[in-house]
Symmetry: C2
Subunit: 236 residues, 2 copies
């Protein structure tokens, strides 16, 4: 049996005493839909890397009380955090990117304003929606960490610690050969029109490494998923 | 300037005499939208690997006559054909998979009926629509080959030549280490509920190799894109 898994706002530091947590809102609806009843076991996670076994103490349509039974090691995350830095995209394309990036283990999603992007801003509503998509995808993919979706910054203001990679049409370095899990990883992908030459030169001058993603033109929403696919296929 | 690129039903074997081809239908609309006029250069491809320079001889809203000027080497395809064998998926998810798989170089997309698939058949309309999506994505990604989208067959009836890979939750073999471009490649991905244990065992018994895609649960529509991403990141 696969246990139901819900996010709790916070896990107490010490679970030895079997502390209780109270849930309200959509997670309670989720438990009702899954037909959980008093005494049923489930898993809880706090979205920041901790996970625990729990059981239902009380459940009605509005509130759920859970008793925390035992801390678990948590689901595996990548050995170093992976940041996806992705240009603002038209329509609802960022939703698909955020959903797939969360499944594929991204720890943070940094939105970017770039020269060729048709979109230059994102409303608070849409940003909130992307965060909810990340939370939902995190739960579905059984991650204990929900990636933060960070409001857009200009590409020139993007900084990174460790390694940064950008898909480049004219270089032929392989991601798998460049990648080392000894420092954080940042993947940078462009808008519908791609990065401008000046933007690409600036990224490389700042130490980002160009990697090949094949000779075909990829859509802006396919490139980040393909890059993350190459990352997870290294077994992380 | 990026040249407009249209698909023609057929390229004559010999282009030395500057033969003409006549287009009708959506490709003509495309040329009108791109504001091409008599004498303008463009590229044509036949969806089977050949590509040529051409110029507009005549264009109205219904017909376009093009003169073929010179055969081109064609855009690069993978060194061996890659088949994506993907289970039928609910709703419109296969459209997204077909679109991304085409950009990522798949040569064929074979639909599968599997044990846990909620969908067991696909209408001729929907199959035709997937083929049109593949043709459109082929053009946008500047490929000279349009992948065939093949009607569903039972998983047990799937055969392959060369190498076959299936994402497996319990093995830790790396795709990049297994993959060799000396024979055709088949990637096999399951439905929303995954492959049954019996199906997975049968695939492995028949020689498919299990590869890891990280420890997280991927949606059925993310796994094929991630696997193909790992393929193109090898530089093909």
């Amino acid at each position: 049996m696969r246990l139901t898994r819900v996010r709790v706002p916070e896990l107490p530091a010490d679970l030895d005493s079997g502390p209780e947590v109270v849930l309200t809102g959509s997670e309670v609806r989720h438990l009702s839909v899954m037909r959980l009843e008093t005494g049923d076991p489930l898993l809880v996670f706090d979205g920041r890397g901790r996970e625990a076994r729990a059981e239902v103490v009380a459940l009605d349509g509005l509130r759920a009380t859970l008793r925390l039974v035992e801390e678990l090691p948590g689901t595996p995350e990548t050995p170093q955090p992976v940041t996806l830095a992705v240009a603002l995209l038209k329509g609802d394309k960022l939703s698909d990117v955020v959903r797939a990036a969360t499944e594929l283990g991204a720890a943070r999603i940094q939105l970017l304003v770039t020269q060729h992007a048709d979109v230059r801003d994102i409303g608070a509503n849409k940003l909130g929606r992307l965060s909810r998509i990340a939370a939902e995808a995190s739960k579905q993919s059984r991650r204990a960490v929900t990636p933060a979706v960070l409001p857009p910054i200009p590409l020139a203001a993007l900084t990174w610690e460790g390694q940064a990679y950008v898909a480049h049409p004219y270089v032929h370095d392989l991601l798998a050969e460049q990648l080392h899990w000894d420092s954080p990883v940042t993947l940078i992908t462009g808008p519908e029109g791609g990065f401008s030459e000046a933007e690409m030169e600036a990224l490389l001058a700042r130490g980002a490494r160009g990697v090949v993603l094949g000779p075909r033109i990829l859509r802006a929403e396919t490139a980040p998923v393909a890059l993350l696919g190459a990352i997870v296929a290294t077994g992380v």
